[in-house]
Amino acid sequence: MTLATLPTRRDEAWRYADMDGLARLGVAALDQWQTIDVAAGESVTRCLVVGSSAPELHRFRVQLGEGARAAFFVTNAGGDYTRVEVEVRLARGAHFEFGGVTIGGAGVTREFVTQVVHAEPEATSNQTVRAVHWAGATGNFLGEIKVARHAQKTDAAQDFKGLLLEAGASANAVPQLEIFADDVKCAHGATVGELDEAARFYMMARGVDPATAQRLLVQAFIGDAFVALENEAEREALLDAALAALEGAGL
C-alpha cells in the first residue's frame, strides 16, 4: 500500500514530528518498512547508530514467536530530522527490549516511536529512552503499549528521562497504554530535568574541567539506555557515538 499523502501533526504518532523534515524525505520513505520475524525461542539484537546531515526515517516491524526475544539499541544523533519507529508484536512469553538515546542540538528533532503489542499472555517488554538536548533541539519518545484481552501476566515497562542542557531545548514523552487484560503489570515514567549542578561543582572541585564533567554526567545519564546490552564493544560504540554528538554542546 502506498500512502498518497504525508501524515499531519493531527496524527497522534506524528504529533511532535518535524513535518518539514518529513516533507524533504518524501512520501516514498513511509513505505520502507524493514520486517524482522523472530522464530519461537530465537533471539535477535540490533544495534544502530542513526542520523546524518539529511532527514532519516527508519521503520521496523518485528514479529516475535513464542519465547522469542528482540532487542533494539539505538543512538539517534542525527544532524537533521531523524525518526526511528519500531512496531512489535509479541507472542506468548516473548520479550522485547528497547534502549534508545536521542542526543543533539542545532534545532533538530530526533524521535523514537514504538508500538508494542502484547498479543498473547506472559510476554514482557522493557523500554528505556534518554534524551539529551540543547540549542533549540527536541527529543521525543512516543511509546504505545497495547495489551490484548487474553494477554494475562503481561509485564511491560517504559521509562523516559530527558536532560536539557540549555533553555530552549525540549523533550516530549507520550506514553500511551491500552490495556484490555486485567492481570498485567504496566509501568511507565517520564521526567525532564537539567544537569545536576551540585554534581558538576563536585567534579570541578576535584579538578575535572567543565566539558569533561558534563561528558561524565551525560554518559552516566544515557548509560541506562544500554545497560541491557551485554556486548561491551557494541555498548561502547553506541555510547561513543552519543558522546561524540555532545562535542558541539555549550557548557
Partner: protein
Amino acid sequence: MLIIDNLHASVGDKPILKGLTLSVPAGEIHAIMGPNGAGKSTLSNVLGGKPGYEVTEGSVTFRGEDLLALEPHERAAKGLFLGFQYPVEIPGVSNVQFLREALNAQRKARGEEPLSGGEFLKLAKDKAGLLKMDMDMLKRQVNVGFSGGEKKRAEMVQMGILDPAFAVLDETDSGLDIDALRIVGAGINAIMRSPDKAVLLITHYQRLLDVVKPDKVSILAGGRIVETGGPELALRLEAEGYDAVMA
C-alpha cells in the same frame, strides 16, 4: 600559602563573610571553630569557588596567585582540595573513573603526564588502604549508597589520591563514629602533615582535634575571625562554650 584579606562574601543579597582576615603558612594545620551560622561553610565554599557565592570585597591569595580569579577546576589543579561537608552522589560514575579523570585533568593542567590505568589503580589501592577502605567500594558509583561515615572516608581517599598542597576540610568529622573519626584523623595526618602542605580544618568539636593536632585555632563568628590562639583555645571552647570565650 593561603592569605585571606578582608574577605566579604554574600549569598544572594545576604552578606555572610564581613571582613575575614586569615593567613595559613605552609606546614600549618589551622582549625576554624565557630557557632552555627558564623560563616564556616560559606568560607569553604568561597575558597572552592562554588557558584552562588559572591565576593564583594577583599582578596584571597593562594601560593602567590589570586585564587578568586580561578575556576574551581583550576583551583584544584593549583593544589587546593575542598573536603565537602555533604559529599555529592553521582549515580552512574564510578569512583575509579571519576578520580582518574580528576587526577589526570589536574596533571594535564600542570603539564604532567597522565597516569595509566594500572598506575592509577595502584595509587588508589594504596590510599584506600590508608583509610581502611575496600577497593570494591572505589569501584562503586561515587558516594551512592555510602553511609555518612563512608562518604567522609571516601573524601579522604580522594584527598590522598589527588595529593593537594592545601586542604579545606568542612566538618569532615560530622557523621563519624569514634572509630571512623580515628581513621579519618589518621588519614588527614598521613596525607597532609608535611612542611610543604597546610590544612584549614573547619570543625565544631574538639574530638577531631585530639587526633589531628592543630597548630593554631581561630574562632569565626559573625563572618570574621574574632580570636586566634593555640590548641588550648579549642579546649577552652569545649569547656566553656563560645559565649564565655568570646565575651
